[in-house]
Symmetry: C2
């Protein structure tokens, strides 16, 4: 079990707190807005019964999980004696630089300090720190207590031991860490999402398919296998001789498509009118929040299904 | 109910036969290899109990489904009186041109003739036909009796009525048709798959992430939401004001990534050595077939889960 500090208790910090506390870690919450940590704990208390209902508390009572989460009044009290810090402040470079300076000074020298940033490279806000070797990015997809994948992104000076310890700590709380070898804008997941979105916007802008048709192709087609195998295992199983055989058979097809993928369509150009019109026809703006709640219930049910299938059929 | 002809009874033809017969359509099988239709029916008979077990026969007994599938000895007997033909011969242009000439001559003038081709544009093998207006591509992801998405691709001369009838017939047998407005290489699904695979190969080739890390990012990350929403609904729900708000907030991030996506890495270059090594370490070659059977069981369980969640939580 680890002692963990959550720095910044907005949506992402709260979600990390649940992941850690559920796994038995002792969690301290700190936020520069003194009232925020109490609100965060109330929010978590309200959410835990839902997670219990969806079998997402490892069989524990909500109170047992909640008891491991403690709001504290200073950053120094939050990080005293911890082995892991998860930082979740605003996505602004000056904010990250300032908070990492405070964290590096106050946190025990052998603790890992991880940022949840999705948009900034770790090298941009850790270079000047004495303890820069123990700093890295740990970027979740929200919420991490439901979605396992989280990206570990080292700066050039992050030590291999730091990456290994962060990977072990995240694995122990049930995440599936993506252990990047070096940093790149967009990390892994936003790059993969960007690649598919660029093609999706192009197909609609060029008049080949509708918004709903693209969603069908993923939702009722490609993402079914991807949701339990990923794209490399999918192609490995799609040719009799495995991935090498697949590349020999089909690279020609994909190479032929690539030339037409090198042109970017502006997402806020004419195409957004069609996309916004179709989406608002499918889902009026005043139902967005209700649909987000539907999405979260579907996500929890899908994870429960995957856990059962891992057990019954094999992972 | 429709009378349907399946032309070519390899893996794809057999799978279409199951989709149609399960929905109550009357199916005739024909193959240029006279022994192939009998083998196809035997194969289907062996598979139906598995589908029953996974609740994929709409509550019917395997024998009731099987009784709707009839091997016949000539192409003419297969198409006599049908309203829909699904062609599944070899993926070679000369083969497609020849079979479509025979089909167009023999099939009732008001029937739809659809090809399962994944690699050829419909304009390439239907241009010279008298009945070219009733020809199109209906490309499944295999197997269509499990995976709903199927692409309808018109040639420039395919009539709107043909597309509409094909969409209706596929919808009635439980597929989710993607109705393309015009043809393009790769259609919708292979283009989306190509976009993500190009980025996946680049990330591995450039030393940012491992094969398994890419698969985690999709399997335990992005594809969870995609598997019940698709990428457009996903971003529509990822900003408070919907998709227009999402584009305003995040297009800058994705635009910044695009420049580095315009370079293609050869899949059979040095990177295939790492990918093949990692995949064969994860799954020895002699276990590929067993793993394909695992994939099919997981797919069926996932579809059963989605059907339940559509009912219980909402689609």
């Amino acid at each position: 079990m680890e002692d963990v500090a959550i720095i910044g208790t907005g949506f992402i910090g709260r979600a990390w707190a649940i992941s850690h506390a559920r796994a038995g870690n002792s969690v301290r919450l700190w936020d520069q807005d003194a009232a925020a940590t109490g609100r965060a704990k109330d929010y978590i208390a309200g959410l835990l019964p839902d997670l219990l209902k969806n079998d997402l508390l490892n069989g524990q009572a909500p109170d047992a999980v909640l008891a491991r989460i403690q709001p504290v009044e200073s950053l120094e009290a939050a990080v005293a004696g911890v082995s892991y810090v998860q930082e979740n402040t605003f996505e602004r470079l000056d904010v990250k630089i300032a908070i990492f300076q405070r964290l590096d000074s106050a946190t025990p020298a052998d603790a890992v300090i991880a940022s949840s940033t999705s948009a900034l490279l770790p090298s941009a806000f850790t270079e000047g720190l004495v303890g820069r070797a123990r700093c890295l990015v740990a970027h979740p997809i929200n919420p991490p207590y439901v979605i396992p994948a989280a990206e570990l992104v080292p700066a050039p000076w992050t030590s291999p031991e730091t990456v290994e310890r962060a990977a072990r700590i995240l694995t122990e709380i049930g995440q599936k860490p993506i252990v990047m070898k070096r940093e790149i804008d967009g990390f892994v997941m936003n790059r993969l999402q960007g690649a598919i979105l660029e093609e999706a916007f192009r197909l609609v802008a060029d008049g080949y398919a509708s918004v709903e048709d693209v969603d069908i192709g993923i939702r009722d087609g490609l993402a079914l296998r991807w949701s339990f195998m990923g794209p490399f295992e999918t192609i490995d199983l799609n040719a009799p001789g495995g991935v090498r055989d697949y590349v020999e058979r089909y690279q020609g097809l994909y190479r032929g498509l690539f030339a037409s993928m090198m042109r970017r369509v502006e997402w806020d150009g004419p195409v957004i009118e069609e996309i916004a019109r179709d989406r608002r026809a499918a889902l009026p703006a005043d139902q967005l929040q209700q649909r987000q709640e539907w999405r979260d219930r579907r996500l929890m049910a899908l994870i429960a299904h995957k856990n059962r299938a891992d057990r019954d059929i094999g992972a």
